[in-house]
Subunit: 407 residues, 2 copies
């Protein structure tokens, strides 16, 4: 007997098996062949559920109901960070497919492309492009570690999806409402005995690259007073980011996630160090305030060592306040099904926050067992996943009905 | 007309042209194809000068005079750090070839292999192996960034030298004395109006790898208090090494030259960070004292963040005091030729310090114009190089004579 649990689980494993990496995680980078293969897999499931798959010019997968009337959508993403988890993106996608099977009529699936675009120092490329918040020029400027531009990588990705019909544009005007289900990315819900969280605010990430240029010199023969060590300047910023993250808690975070040095040789003083910092806040202006303090420290750390600093903004954004009527509709659905839910915020960026600019959107979190995210250890309880599916089905029914239940 | 300057210069350029890298530096890593090609080039020059090239089991190139009597040698190395300079190793090698042409009789050339073995977190592999200070087991344990062992890479390198006859062992017992000429690696000699420096002590390097293991987690969703950030622990050690390098100056140095983090993703808290530290001292026990302070700090930096620390010793050594009679012989040669010289110490490791354990050896520095070392900007004055050549010729003559001039 195929239970819902097994069906969700099997599909999550099918997605994982496309590109497992050697450290036990999933490895489907933004706009990669592996992301395209995952999209093809979802398209096949959607077709079996009576929907018609199509790809918009931004690489997002739409699975449309027959006809050209309005419909409600659900979905998440299928790309991953390097060495990522099994559930991030995949869970919300397979739940959306299952909900589409169970909800009759005007419902569809929307799987956004390149949500985890860490390779380009960014995220949510598909949903931001679709909603007019990211231009092709912006994409062309984004480079991965190998120097490849996001725009040309997207072309290759679109070619890999040639079996799916193309849309001339994203049919957002037909969407009545959109719901994204996602694994929780910390461990708050379980602590409070809740199965589901309903996001009221999504943090706006601010990302910056800092490049310190000193001078490569001999590790033994260069006296302390004559060194221009780029790594030492960078290390000061790693620690300043850590300190600011503590000072600004709990509304704002800061993380140095990337650091590369040159020439990275044991007998040479590092002449260059480049780090990437990620700042997030659920308070308007919070991320910008932290960034200003960090840049002030970076200029001081560089200046005191005769090191130069180049700072490259990667992305700037403000927190998104989610549609209150959608939040209440989700609460009502949970209430009718006796699923324990609570309101929460999200520090992680999600496609739902960009879609929310054009379409009423909700973001629902399934309780995490351990708070692990963006790593192989991600875990959720199957009962909570099934509860999320039931709530999604209930919510899509009610949203199709024209906006009752508090909307 | 071929002047000495042009001949030295042309040969330095010939060595450089074997493997220039894209950043303007030389790139002939230890035991690489490029190092083998450089050895073949030197062997050809030596053959033209009437010497017989041969390779010992450790990869060192010997260019021997006819017969089986005693002889004096000179030489340096032909491998480089990544993005290295034109003169490091090359200058002492081409000067040795030229001296061998000018000094008749019992003189040879010794070019040691894998002096710049930064790829294996070590140095002077050829001279240490030859003098019994490094076993094949030690070599087999050394790995480069691609996981390749030094012993198997050496086998490939020896295969690339198959055109040169092989020696069953290094003929050290025939060597009366050895002189290594090298570009100065700081800018002290020029400041004091000197053309040549004669090393009295060579620092003993101590090298260590520190591996911090924390936990990969989501950059936005992991509260400050729950982070186990391996990069933050590593950054504290980068700054502690900088501070200790200032405190222990001028007799001891410390440098963090390598740092790699995992997963190195903008949206993930680094779960692992591995750094390499290089410590050098011209005082007995000095490097070890600094290392102890650094390791104490590393344990504290890790412990306060819930991060674990593994420390891997790469190499340990004490400073080498050079043969006083050889220092005086070099001073006499300079005196006779009216070349301005002075005594100095070396913080950089050199093959001469290992050869000095078995054979009377001297290390002569040619004044650097700018103090740049291990980088493309290395520069020396041609007059000083010609003076070094003249001193070397004079010194080899006197050393052949059975050890007069103060020996």
């Amino acid at each position: 007997m195929i239970t819902t649990k097994n069906k969700l689980k099997d599909r999550i494993e099918e997605l994982f098996a496309l590109a497992p990496d050697c450290n036990g995680g999933a490895n489907r980078p933004a706009f990669s062949k592996a992301e395209a293969e995952a999209m093809l897999l979802v398209a096949g499931w959607a077709r079996a559920a009576g929907l018609e798959p199509a790809v918009d010019p931004f690489g997002n997968l739409w699975c449309l109901p027959p006809g050209d009337g309005p419909f409600v959508t659900s979905g998440s993403h299928v790309d991953t960070v390097p060495d990522g988890g099994r559930l991030d993106g995949s869970l919300g996608t397979v739940i959306a497919v299952e909900a589409a099977e169970r909800v009759a009529g005007q419902r569809g699936i929307l799987v956004c492309a390149a949500e985890e675009a860490a390779r380009f120092g960014a995220g949510t490329l598909g949903s931001r492009s679709m909603t007019g918040n990211l231009s092709d020029t912006d994409l062309a400027r984004m480079r991965d570690a190998e120097g490849r531009g996001a725009l040309s990588v997207r072309s290759e990705y679109l070619n890999a999806l040639e079996r799916i019909p193309k849309l001339e544009r994203a049919p957002l005007e037909r969407v009545l409402a959109h719901v994204e289900v996602h694994i929780e990315q910390r461990a708050d819900l379980r602590k409070h005995g809740l199965s589901l969280g309903i996001a009221t605010t999504i943090a706006g990430p601010v990302r910056h690259r800092l490049r310190f240029i000193g001078e490569v010199a001999h590790a033994g023969e260069t006296p302390a007073a004559e060194r221009r060590d780029a790594l030492c300047a960078a290390a000061e910023i790693v620690l300043l980011a850590e300190k600011l993250c503590q000072q600004y808690a709990p509304h704002t975070t800061a993380t140095v996630g990337t650091l590369l040095i040159h020439p990275n040789s044991l007998t040479s003083i590092p002449g260059a160090a480049e780090l990437g910092v990620d700042i997030r806040s659920v308070e308007p202006g919070g991320a910008k305030r932290l960034l200003d303090e960090l840049l002030h420290g970076a200029r001081r750390a560089a200046g005191s060592r005769g090191v130069t600093l180049a700072d490259v903004p990667l992305s700037v954004s403000e927190p998104t306040v989610m549609d209150e009527a959608m939040v209440r509709a989700a609460e009502s659905a949970c209430g009718r099904l006796e699923v324990r839910c609570g309101r929460c915020v999200s520090f992680a960026g999600h496609d739902a926050q960009h879609i929310a600019r054009t379409v009423p959107a909700a973001l629902l979190f399934v309780a995490s067992e351990n708070g692990v995210s963006h790593a192989p250890g991600e875990a959720a309880n199957w009962k909570d996943m099934e509860a999320a599916l039931a709530v999604l089905v209930e919510l899509m029914h009610s949203l199709q009905g024209g906006g009752n239940d508090g909307r």
